[in-house]
């Protein structure tokens, strides 16, 4: 039998939810023709934890700040930052100016550590592990500084509705400046390593291109959007915290190369420029920081009572390292929890670019292209109830597992 037409056969390769190339669980379905990617689809939802639901049903707004910190391990400043701004608007609380400056300082520290972390991961994805070690060693300095200023490396518990929980004192300034000087001294080396290296250029130039028009249509935000030439940066666009007093400009790759391509290389440029920008912002904030209190209402019981009686809504927007974080909050009088809490993390929209930037690329490019968006799954996935759902027999509960564990210990003791 003769076949009139031969259709091009394509394979679908599943990647993930758990895969060595991915740092967090997500499933990609890649349709390939030989080595070339024809189409891609994204499946999210593997790390849902029900955070918004908890904020709307179980926790009071102050407890929800600490829950918001745990939306994401890396953006553990941006999320509480947006949440407290939204609640402050809804309840009509104004934080003192000094708090606004300290908020900006710790948010910029977060940007430095996040971008350096990303730079290391990106180098690792293309097999350049020497650079990965170098960058992560350089990153330790900011982690030490974060610990020095906030008391902790990861979840810092700095935010409170109407201000902050900890101050930055004059005595701490020299130590902060010392770290900033260190970064200024290594910045040129980092820039040379990432932008002049032949191998990195070969693997990242004209790879994973996202055109400006596509970026605008797919609502891409943050460094991924700016690398495509969209000059959108909340710190520049909308007055919030100390950024409202500073003259901040969105970083775009044409500042270095003169053109905007929108490839992986451009995303590296934008992030590097933003590290430098973050250092400058912290310096300016230290200089201009006004004296005064750091909390509008230090008594938590009074604050909670005011929040329970408050009625209103607010929207908190902060520029996280990956893009814009938005929290919408609605308060109802007489309700001790948030009436509505909606979180939008930057990766939520940035993931929509994945099919576009993977199309036409090779399978070997998937890790670096995917990583170039700096996707953060924990941020995107939040709100399902972690449940035993209707299949109680097949899914084991924590209590059952605990009981089995005890049984095993007893068995071993005999």
């Amino acid at each position: 039998m003769m076949q009139e037409e031969t259709k091009k056969a394509t394979y679908t390769i599943p990647v993930g939810p758990i895969h060595p190339a991915l740092k967090e669980p997500i499933r990609l379905a890649l349709t390939v023709d030989g080595e070339e990617i024809v189409d891609a689809d994204v499946f999210v939802g593997q790390v849902h934890r029900g955070i918004e639901w908890l904020g709307m049903n179980r926790n009071n707004p102050v407890q929800s700040i600490y829950l918001a910190e745990r939306i994401c391990g890396i953006c553990n400043i941006s999320h509480p930052f947006s949440l407290v701004m939204a609640v402050e608007q809804a309840a009509g609380i104004t934080p003192p100016p000094r708090a606004e400056y300290i908020r900006a300082i710790i948010a910029e520290m977060e940007r430095i550590h996040s971008h350096l972390l990303w730079a290391g991961v990106a180098a690792h994805e293309i097999g350049f592990d020497t650079v990965f070690y170098l960058v992560w060693r350089v990153r330790e300095e900011i982690m030490d500084l974060v610990e020095y200023v906030t008391g902790n490396r990861v979840t810092k518990a700095m935010f409170q509705i109407g201000g902050l929980r900890r101050d930055i004192t004059e005595e701490q300034f020299p130590r902060i400046r010392q770290s900033l000087d260190y970064y200024k001294s290594v910045f040129d080396q980092l820039k040379r390593v990432f932008l002049d290296d032949k191998t990195i250029q070969m693997r990242t130039r004209n790879v994973g291109i996202l055109k400006k028009e596509d970026a605008l249509k797919l609502l891409i935000c943050g460094p991924s959007g700016r690398a495509s030439g969209v000059p959108k940066d909340v710190r520049q666009d909308q007055p919030y915290a100390a950024y409202a007093d500073l003259d901040i400009k969105a970083m775009t790759p044409d500042m270095v190369t003169g053109t905007v391509v929108g490839d992986v290389y451009d995303r590296i440029i934008v992030r590097l420029l933003e590290v430098k920008q973050a250092i400058e912002i912290i310096e300016q904030c230290l200089e201009k920081m006004p004296p005064g209190p750091i909390l509008a209402q230090p008594k938590i019981a009074v604050l909670l009572k005011a929040l329970t009686q408050a009625e209103g809504e607010g929207i908190g927007r902060a520029e996280a390292p990956r893009g814009e974080v938005i929290h919408y909050v609605r308060l109802e009088a007489g309700q001790s929890t948030l009436a509505t809490w909606k979180v939008r993390a930057p990766t939520y929209v940035n993931l929509m670019a994945v099919p576009t930037i993977l199309k036409g690329m090779q399978i070997a490019d998937v890790p670096i292209i995917f990583a170039s968006l700096d996707p953060c799954m924990s941020c995107t996935n939040r709100m399902i109830i972690t449940d035993r759902a209707l299949r109680k027999k097949s899914i084991m509960s924590y209590e059952e597992m605990h009981r089995l564990s005890l049984q095993k210990t007893e068995k071993l003791r005999r």
Partner: protein, 178 residues
């Protein structure tokens, strides 16, 4: 591009949509030391005028940024707020624009806007599975976050009988069911 003031934007909505606009509020607050103003706009429209309102926003700003759709269960109706931002890229000129539309529980349907803003697809899929609002004409009807074996007809954000039943909620050891 001509930047309109919040008041002018409200007027432009009223001219474009007529009595389709139910309510419009301007929120302002002073920030930090220089007292620059954070501004947001909240416009409530009738369901019949919803698509026209989104198209009107596209006239104000080519490619408006749709951040997210938030939805609240208000008892007899479900409130959807489409959080747009316009005038980005200009120093301190950006505006948050919340487009509010209320749907009665007897008719929880809203037309899709993915033909105008392709990137609305994720948040429309999420609103559909979490709140049980049917997005009419959505090009991709699949769930976004909920697993495939999650029961049909249960919507986690609802506060009525369609919300998650008690036996689906896990209570941690040592805690009591609230």
């Amino acid at each position: 591009m001509e930047l309109l003031s919040p008041g002018e934007i409200v007027d432009s909505f009223k001219t474009a949509l007529g009595d389709g606009v139910i309510d419009a509020k301007i929120y302002e607050r002073e920030v930090a030391v220089k007292k620059n103003k954070f501004r947001s706009l909240w416009v409530e429209v009738k369901k019949s005028a919803f698509r026209d309102a989104v198209e009107h926003i596209c006239h104000l700003q080519e490619y408006p940024h749709l951040a997210i759709i938030s939805s609240s269960d208000l008892g007899a109706e479900v409130e959807l707020i489409y959080h747009f931002t316009i005038y980005y890229g200009y120093h301190l000129e950006e505006l948050s624009l919340g487009l509010r539309v209320k749907l009665p529980k007897s008719d929880l349907r809203i037309p899709t806007i993915t033909d105008i803003i392709p990137g609305a697809i994720f948040t429309e899929r999420e609103t559909q599975e979490m709140m049980g609002v049917e997005v009419v004409g959505i090009p991709d009807k699949r769930r976004l976050f909920l697993p495939e074996d999650f029961p049909e007809g249960v919507y986690p954000w609802r506060k009525d009988e369609k919300g998650p039943p008690d036996d689906m909620l896990r209570v941690l050891p040592g805690r009591e069911q609230k």
